[in-house]
Every structure is written in C-alpha cells, then in structure tokens.
C-alpha cells in the first residue's frame, strides 16, 4: 500500500499537537476524513445545493441523483439485494432506536426475550431496555470468556423459544473482538428470532456482506467509515422493512395525506421523514469511493499487519495487560499499564502527541465484567503505520517508568 500518498489524503494527520507530530489512534471513536470527502461537501454547497426528490429544476435533479447514487453505492458496499433497503439515519444509535421503536414495538411483547452480548455498546443496550420497559419483554446476555470472546456453547443455552431478537455487535469497540456472527445468527434463526447487527466497528474494516450474514438489520455510522458525522445506514430485509410502521411522520415518508388518514411511501422513503442530510449523504459516497479506490482487500491486509505488529510490540511491555485478546480481532488494543489509571496514561500519551481513548468506551457492563473502570484504547486504521506503533510503545515504556 502506498502509505505516504494515502497519508497525504488526510490533511489532519499533519497536525502538530503539543509540539509533536500527531499520532491518531482514536479511530474507533471516529475516523479522519480524506480530502475527497471534505471537497464533496464543498462541491455540493458551492454548486448543487437544492432540496431533493421534488424539485423540477436542474440543481434539484443533480442533488437527487447524487443522493441516490450514494444509496446505490452503499447497497453495493454491503451487497444488499437492492438500494431501497438502505435507509439513511443519523448513525448507529439512531438506526437501533428506529428498529426498537418500530419492529420492536410491533413484534416484541410481554414475556419475549431479546438477546444481547456482554460487550454491547450502550447504544445497543439502552434502546432495548426502554422497549422492554414499555412492552414487558426481557433482556438476556451472552457471556464472554477472559479473552473477550463469546462462548458459543454457553450462547446456545441463552436462546429459547421466547427469543424474538438477537442484537449483537459485530466488532467490539472496546475490545476489538470480531464476533462469530454467522453462528449466533444460526442459533437465533433456529428459534425463529430476528437478528440485528451493530456494525459500527465492522462496516469499514471487514468485508460485510449482509446477504451472507443473513441478518435482518445491519446498522452503522458514516463517521467511522471516513465520512461525515451524524449520518448512518440501516439495512433491513425487505419483507421485514415492509411490515414495519414508519418511525417519524412528515416529508418524503408519505404517499398521500388527508385529514382522514395518510398512506405511506415505499421503501426506503417510508423511513426518511423530513429533508434529509443531503450534503453529508453525498459526501459519504465520496468516502466509499475513496475506500473502493484503495480496495477492501488491501485495506484489510494492511490493517491485519498493523494488528499483528501492534500486538507483538505491545506485548513486549512487561506491565501491559491487554483487556480482551481475542483470536479473531481488529486492530483495536485495549489495555492497562500496571496499576496506572487509564486517565493518567491517556493524558501522558496526549502530551506526546498520541491520541487514544480512555475510560469505559460506552460499554460499562463490559467494564464491570472485567472488574475495571476503564482501559486505554488505541484503535488503528489503514493510515496508521508501524513507525507510529513503535512510538506508542516507546512512549508507554517511558510512562510506565513514571507511573509504576
């Protein structure tokens, strides 16, 4: 991979932080944006800004085409059966809330069970808790082992005839674990349950094929895929999306409104009320095209190398203890340095220009499982380098001397 030329595409990587070259290792929180994405936003606002779908003029037509082209490309990216199963949302959290508020309310009732895993992000816990409070359903939790892997034998026992939904994270943001989605999906299917996959951390790092995964819903966020913030995608199986009531009312989601009643639009518009985030949707396509130009295989191979190298180098630090060390994982390293508090380590790394995340990573139940308050998390992506890992390791050795 031409890493130098790739890094040039991300201007922010040249930032100087506290007099040091920035090393950005907080990609699980949000990824940086290539120039192509920022330029797409500019282009749209400078040349094409218009509302979509209804306008009878040239700009409206250009904006509509670009917006729908993004949907088409997302369908291709995820190998969806058709682009009208790609619904734009405000992000992963919004997508999960949509499913909870529509599918959940309609099809989950008292006594039913929703299966989650120990490592869920709060976004994939709280909407289900809210639903359970409303309808009287119950949450059951898939246990994990010390390495941060879901134990499939134990998992088997969690599913029952009452299971109505499996909602599970594809790649854990706190541990990097890649979950055995296909096996879990099979277990859920055997009980006749539906499946939602939180793909916030997998959508741009793994080859996601929603048909192969056989999931009913897949949700993700554009900002973790080198695109704009506050935007995401909900993929759904057609038959289920068609049965679901609209989430919000108004705008493009109607076919005909009468004070006596309203008929709803077709997919995907049924779920896209109001004027959508047009510019960001268009810029999202720029980020996909950027990824496509490098190639998913090459990205994965490169990130895999970073993961192997990072795991090896970090293991050389005697006091460093990984929190979660799954056999199948992405380039996310969660760890503690001796008895040092993660916050101290994070601030000292920041002083050296290295951006990591510290704390519970919005996975408090997982932290409770490990009996800790939080971890230091370095999450890497294809614009990071082995040299940056070396600097991280040297920095940690230095910090270790001061804190332990």
């Amino acid at each position: 991979m031409q890493i130098d030329s790739i890094r040039k595409d991300f201007p922010v990587l040249n930032e100087i932080v506290h007099g040091k070259n920035l090393i950005y290792f907080d990609n699980a929180a949000t990824t940086q944006k290539p120039k192509a994405v920022v330029e797409a936003l500019n282009e749209y606002y400078y040349h094409d800004n218009s509302n979509i779908h209804r306008g009878a003029h040239t700009l409206a037509d250009r904006a509509t085409k670009a917006y729908e082209a993004s949907r088409e490309n997302l369908a291709k990216w995820f190998n969806a059966e058709s682009s009208d199963q790609i619904i734009f949302t405000r992000g992963t959290t919004d997508g999960i809330n949509l499913v909870a508020a529509t599918f959940g309310k309609q099809f989950i009732s008292e006594g039913d069970e929703i299966v989650l895993s120990t490592m869920e992000h709060h976004s994939n816990i709280v909407p289900w808790q809210m639903l359970c409070e409303n309808v009287g359903a119950k949450i059951k939790v898939l246990p994990i082992n010390e390495k941060g892997e879901i134990n499939l034998e134990e998992a088997e026992k969690i599913f029952t005839d009452k299971t109505k939904l499996l909602a599970v994270v594809h790649v854990s943001n706190a541990l990097g674990t890649i979950n055995p989605i296909s096996e879990l999906t099979k277990m859920a299917r055997e009980k006749g349950a539906s499946v939602l996959i939180d793909g916030a951390q997998s959508a741009s790092h793994l080859d996601v094929d929603v048909q192969k995964l056989d999931c009913d819903f897949f949700v993700c966020s554009a900002h973790k895929m080198y695109g704009p913030t506050g935007l995401g995608v909900l993929y759904g199986k057609r038959d289920i999306l068609e049965k679901m009531n609209p989430y919000q009312g108004g705008g493009e989601m109607i076919k005909e409104v009468d004070f006596e009643g309203t008929t709803y639009n077709e997919l995907p518009f049924k779920f896209e009320a109001g004027t959508p985030n047009i510019a960001d949707v268009i810029a999202f396509n720029a980020s996909l095209k950027y990824l496509q130009s490098i190639g998913r295989d090459r990205i994965r191979e490169y990130e895999n190398d970073l993961k192997e190298y990072g795991r090896k180098r970090l293991s050389e630090i005697g006091s460093l203890k990984f929190v979660g060390d799954a056999d199948q994982k992405t380039a996310i390293f969660s760890f503690l340095l001796g008895n040092a508090h993660a916050f101290d380590v994070g601030m000292m790394l920041d002083a050296k220009g290295i951006a990591v995340r510290t704390g519970h990573h919005c996975t408090q139940p997982l932290m409770k499982h490990y009996g800790i308050e939080g971890t230091v998390r370095a999450s890497l992506t294809f614009y990071n380098t082995r040299e940056e890992i070396d600097i991280l390791v040297e920095s940690l050795i230095d910090i270790d001397k001061k804190l332990n």
Binding site: G19, D344, E373
Partner: protein
C-alpha cells in the same frame, strides 16, 4: 500567612516557568500530587467522593482552631496533583476566607485546555464542595 491570591500567583509563576511543555507540566502536577498525604482506605468511602468524569476524588475536611483543614486523594495521579493545588490555595484558612476566595489560577495556567472541559467541571465541583464545607463551618462558628 500568605493570602490565597499570593499563593495563586506563585502557582501561576511556577507554571509559566514550565512554558508550553505539556509533558513537563504533567510531570510537575504529578510530583505535586505525590506530596499530598494519601487518605486512609477507610476514608475513601462513597460519602467522601466527588463525582468527576473518569477519576475518583475523595475530599474530607475538619475545623481546627477556627481554620479549615482539607485532605484529598484521587485514584489518578494527575487529578491528585490538580487537587493538591486547590488545597495549597485554600487549606488552613478561616471559613470566611474560603467562601470569599476568588480562584483565578486555573484559568491562568490553562487548566481547562489541559484537562478538557468535562474534567474541568469535575474540578469546579471540587471547589464547590470545599466552599460548601466552609459555609457549614461558618454556620457552626456563628452558633457557638
């Protein structure tokens, strides 16, 4: 005894001496924290906790000869250092002095830049708590 203003000016000078060197600043803050007497485990109870963002801070106070004595601890070295600065400014003063104290050093040493706005809020809670203790002691003194 120096006024709280004088002490704050001293702190500002010390930090000015460190310049823009973030690592030096953090190291210095941690050194200050190490000098703070640690609390006993039995003092580190829920009741004494001031909720910050990621770090835990325990604060206890005592009125001795009309002066308030503060002790504090934290589970993070950097926070502990920051708290030690507050104690240096406000410790061993009368309740009234503490209530009236105008704290300006944090802004001057660029604290919220350093620790982020959320954690600055935690720091503000710490100050509030110290002032609340002082208020309570003042009430006690007036009743005596």
């Amino acid at each position: 005894m120096k006024s709280s203003e004088d002490i704050q000016n001293e702190i500002i000078e010390e930090f000015a001496f460190l310049g823009d060197d973030r690592e030096a600043m953090i190291n210095y803050i941690m050194e200050l924290g190490e000098k703070l007497e640690p609390l006993q485990d039995l003092e580190k109870v829920e009741d004494n906790i001031i909720k910050g963002c990621q770090s835990k801070v325990w604060l206890i106070s005592e009125l001795k000869d009309g002066k308030v004595q503060f002790t504090a601890d934290s589970n993070t070295a950097i926070t502990k250092g920051l708290i030690s600065l507050l104690i240096r400014v406000l410790n061993n003063r009368s309740p009234k002095e503490i209530i009236d104290a105008n704290l300006f050093f944090m802004e001057k040493i660029g604290m919220s830049n350093m620790i982020g706005s959320q954690r600055s809020n935690g720091f503000v809670s710490m100050i509030k708590k110290m002032k609340i203790f002082a208020l309570a002691y003042q009430g006690q003194l007036q009743n005596d």
